[in-house]
């Protein structure tokens, strides 16, 4: 056991980049703040490169509290690429804004938090990751100083604070019972202890992670944050924290003793998230709010492989694939809304195909991708997670996944239909913002390429997980 601080180089790069943005913002003229965007992009690229290089020397760091293995690497690269895509949206939404540098700093800090969650192998590190990933998010959601933005920030903060406290309580409880917070010790030490107490502790920790993942029961903030904040913040907070939270939950579940059906607990959360998210998205008129609820349901799908962690060989690779696929597709969908910031109802998309065919195709690919239509990446993710669920002894969960996909099709089509309609193009479609439009197209293209090349990705990605 040694410290090996360099094992956390990717996290350090991101955090350092965030600090440079924060401090540099005070010394950079407003019209030159694009330099800070370049700094942030460089930090993210550096993070991805460092993550890949770091995978050459796997192992634990900080006396086993943090671990670098195949899963950490996959999570780091996904977070870095997803954040980079989100950063592209800044080109037209945040550029020249009086909160530009702060936006970059907060995004980088929160991304660092997601990375810490990804590699955490100790409940205390998990708690640090939670705080680092959630505190910047509160500020990020509230950066747009509108009534809706304020409400969203307040809601996010309240839900986050409550679930953060619950999580710390859970950590305390587990520590009190086990006498250790390190994952490798938990299984042996929790064995034979009163199940109710152990269950209470674990459920509280899981609840905290549910906030990060935007899953039931801690999902209330998601639709408001998606609707009330800037498009950039919406895309970020519905994508990147999920990656960290889902991987962290997977690690935690593997570390627990077999005294209780933890998988079933996660399966129930997954089912509730999918179903509630889908049903709530039905009546939405604001595309961002609709997407917000859609991400709640997507969190449910993402938790499916976690429910069969350890019981199906497919669980881990399918989860990593789905995370990457979801991140790219979801950002593409949000990018369409930031490309047309003034169009805030579904009817406003009427005639998009005629007016802006490129953007319309990106929208259709992204939304049908979220449904899980082949050959997009989410299809492969959904196929493999559904297979993993059945393989892991939960065929009912497979049926739930497929049934919910059908339900979700309905509201995605409520958005697709006007976009494809032969109607006279609506007024708001005249001038889509270039950076966002390009990002949407890029995300949609990546989604299709990853779907077609899934086999290659499957072969390349190392899915080792150090216990």
């Amino acid at each position: 056991m040694d410290m090996r601080p360099l094992a956390m180089l990717p996290e350090m790069l991101l955090f350092g980049g965030g600090l440079v943005c924060l401090l540099g913002g005070s010394f950079t003229a407003r019209r030159r703040q694009w330099r800070l965007r370049a700094v942030a992009a460089l930090a993210l690229l550096g993070c991805a490169v460092a993550a890949v290089l770091g995978s050459l020397v796997p192992g634990s760091a900080f006396e086993g509290a943090f671990v670098v293995d195949g899963v950490t690497t996959a999570g780091r690269v996904t977070v870095a690429v997803a954040t980079l895509l989100v950063l592209l949206l800044a080109g037209d939404e945040v550029a020249g804004n009086d909160r530009e540098s702060e936006t970059y700093a907060l995004v980088l800090f929160a991304a660092t938090g997601a990375l810490v969650l990804t590699g955490a192998r100790d409940l205390l590190v998990l708690a640090v990751g939670f705080l680092l990933a959630s505190l910047p998010v509160y500020a990020l959601v509230g950066l747009r100083r509108t009534a809706r933005g304020a409400e969203a920030a307040l809601k996010t903060y309240l839900v986050g604070a409550i679930f953060g406290i619950l999580m710390l309580l859970g950590v305390t409880l587990v520590y009190g019972l086990a006498g250790s917070t390190s994952y490798p010790d938990l299984a042996a030490r929790l064995e034979g202890l009163p199940t109710v107490a152990v269950a209470a502790g674990v459920v509280l920790v899981v609840a905290g992670l549910a906030f990060e993942a935007g899953a039931v029961p801690a999902h209330f903030w998601v639709p408001d944050a998606a609707q009330g904040s800037t498009g950039l913040a919406a895309a970020f907070v519905t994508t990147v924290p999920k990656i960290g939270a889902v991987i962290a939950l997977y690690r935690l579940l593997l570390a627990l003793p077999d005294t209780l059906a933890w998988g079933l607990l996660v399966a129930v959360i997954a089912t509730a998230s999918m179903t509630l998210g889908n049903l709530a998205a039905f009546g939405q008129e604001d595309p961002r709010r609709l997407l917000g609820w859609s991400t709640v349901s997507q969190a449910g799908y993402l938790l499916v492989p976690v429910a069969v962690a350890g019981t199906s060989d497919l669980a881990l690779p399918s989860m990593l694939l789905y995370l990457a696929a979801y991140a790219v597709t979801n950002i593409a969908a949000f990018a369409v809304t930031t490309a047309l910031p003034d169009v805030r109802d579904l009817a406003g998309y009427a005639g998009l195909l005629r007016r802006r065919p490129g953007l319309a195709v990106a929208l259709v690919v992204a939304l049908l991708g979220l449904v899980g239509t082949p050959p997009t990446a989410v299809f492969v993710g959904k196929l493999t997670t559904a297979t993993a669920a059945w393989d892991g002894g939960m065929p009912w969960l497979t049926v739930v996944v497929l049934g919910n996909s059908l339900v979700s099709l309905f509201y995605y089509l409520r958005w697709v239909a006007p976009a494809l309609a032969r109607a006279e193009p609506a007024a708001g479609l005249a001038a889509p913002r270039p950076w966002s439009a390009r990002t949407a197209q890029l995300g949609a293209a990546i989604s299709v390429v990853v779907g077609l090349g899934a086999g290659l990705l499957w072969a390349v990605v190392d899915v080792s997980l150090l216990p």
Partner: protein, 495 residues
């Protein structure tokens, strides 16, 4: 060679989308690409030799997602080759039919060409995931066709179509996952699954998997009671969309019955063949009777499609009712089912294209608004009469060859399936009555000023009917391809 055939239309579609391609170039490019495609399919047919059991001609395989043993695996046999050929013919007919249509020709041509690749892909696929990818994309493509080029309440019909058939495709996917997990080693490869026969022991999981697959296919085919999406989808789809939907897309369902149900789950198929048979019988009678009550020409044709697909389901059900000494009869039933798929594809595509002529001239499909059309539109009358006779199974046309085989085989295996003959009787009545109402008697309000079919419409519709006649007069070239495959499938079922 086969992959080239499958993807040529998609390549052509992407070429048409290159900026700068004019509307005329797009329309003729579509015709050219479809014609080239037909030539390629002709070459495939010419070079085709019946493959040994449990193997495919023109077999091509490239790993796709090795983690779940899914590959890009395509190949043809006597079940799929005739359908591939029929698909190429129907799409060419649609291209020719649309050659004067000014409605966004570039994107329409690209969309239909992409749809052609997708349909060919389903028939050629020898991997369940590949099959599903193409199957699902066919739904997306048809949704865009109805929503983008349809008329009437098209948004609603398209939505209903998408939701309903997507339900079917998800049920299918659940069945595929069940098959994958039952196989050891796990695989999505159809040939490997047929070899392993993972559900040879029967059991509840086998029944559930077959149930999911049957549900998925029953929605797509469609059979009663899952047929309610079909009439509105047809009514609001453009003529070429209807031709493809009825001619090709419905076959994806019936083809699946044979390719997935019978071949991959023979044991469960035998156990549940009665259910399939009864569903087929009900579809035959229900489709025929409801067609009788229709006032709208397109809805009438749509319901006769339910009836005709019912014959196919009836035949594949009867083929699963195993008793000693009926092997020959049951293989005739399967061969009749494949022939019916080809025949229905050609004839119904022709009928829907003729219905398109009606809408183009008069803006309505209402049968009562026409009458006495034989005078002003003799060529339309001739085409419709031939198509109607082919559809109702008049000898010397393809429908007769198909239905004769289906009933010979089915009645020999299960005598009471003869009840289905009533369906033929009723459909004959429907078509003759429609012919009488639309083409004879006094001129109806929409018959005045009705211009006869133009050159390009004639060139689109007539070849379909000529092919139907060719199959009816000389069925051997088709049956020589189909019969070995039918015998091989029935051999899998035992008996």
């Amino acid at each position: 060679m086969l992959s080239l055939t499958v993807f040529l239309p998609l390549v052509a579609a992407s070429l048409l989308l290159v900026p700068g391609v004019g509307p005329t170039a797009a329309r003729w490019g579509w015709v050219l690409a479809s014609a080239l495609e037909l030539v390629l399919v002709g070459v495939l047919w010419w070079r085709y030799e019946t493959p040994p059991d449990r193997s495919l001609a023109f077999d091509e395989q490239v790993p796709w997602i090795p983690g779940v043993d899914s590959s890009y695996h395509v190949g043809l046999d006597g079940l799929s080759l005739p359908l591939v050929a029929m698909t190429a013919v129907v799409f060419l007919a649609c291209a020719v039919y649309s050659v004067r249509d000014p409605d966004r020709p570039r994107s329409r041509a690209a969309l239909f060409l992409a749809l052609e690749t997708v349909c060919l892909g389903v028939f050629a696929a020898a991997d369940l995931i590949l099959f599903f990818v193409f199957f699902d994309l066919s739904i997306v493509g048809m949704y865009v066709v109805i929503a983008g080029w349809g008329h009437g309440d098209r948004a609603r019909s398209a939505l209903q179509f998408f939701l309903y058939t997507f339900l079917g495709s998800l049920a299918l996917l659940a069945g595929f996952i069940g098959l994958y997990l039952a196989a050891d080693p796990h695989t999505f490869d159809m040939l490997e699954l047929a070899r392993q026969d993972p559900f040879a022991g029967g059991g509840t999981v086998a029944a559930a998997v077959l149930g999911a697959i049957l549900l998925g296919l029953a929605v797509k085919t469609p059979t009663v009671p899952f047929h309610t999406w079909l009439p509105p989808a047809h009514t609001d789809a453009p003529a070429v969309g209807s031709a493809v939907l009825a001619g090709v897309l419905l076959k994806l369902g019936t083809y699946g019955f044979v390719r997935l149900g019978m071949v991959l789950l023979p044991e469960a198929w035998r156990a549940w063949a009665w259910v399939v048979l009864v569903v087929g019988l009900v579809s035959v009678l229900w489709g025929a009777l409801v067609a009788l009550a229709q006032k709208d020409l397109k809805r009438m044709i749509a319901y006769t499609s339910v009836n005709h697909m019912g014959y196919v389901v009836l035949a594949v059900g009867a083929a699963g009712v195993v008793s000693s000494g009926t092997t020959e009869a049951r293989s005739i039933a399967v061969s009749g089912a494949v022939t019916q798929m080809v025949s229905h594809g050609l004839v119904t595509a022709a009928l829907f294209l003729i219905a398109g002529v009606f809408l183009d001239r008069s803006g309505t499909y209402e049968i009562d608004r026409f009458g006495g059309l034989a005078g002003p539109a003799p060529r339309t009358t001739g085409l419709f009469a031939v198509a109607a006779f082919a559809s109702l199974g008049l000898p010397a046309l393809s429908g007769f060859v198909a239905e004769f085989q289906i009933f010979t085989g089915s009645i020999a295996a299960v005598p009471w399936s003869a009840v289905g003959l009533l369906g033929i009787l009723v459909v004959s009545g429907v078509f003759l009555w429609t012919l009488a109402r639309v083409f004879t008697g006094d001129l109806g309000p929409s018959s005045r000023g009705f211009t006869d079919v133009a050159g390009h419409e004639l060139w689109a519709i007539a070849p379909l009917l000529v092919l139907s006649l060719a199959i009816g007069v000389a069925p051997r070239p088709l049956l020589d391809v189909v019969e070995p495959a039918a015998r091989s499938v029935v051999g899998l079922l035992g008996g």
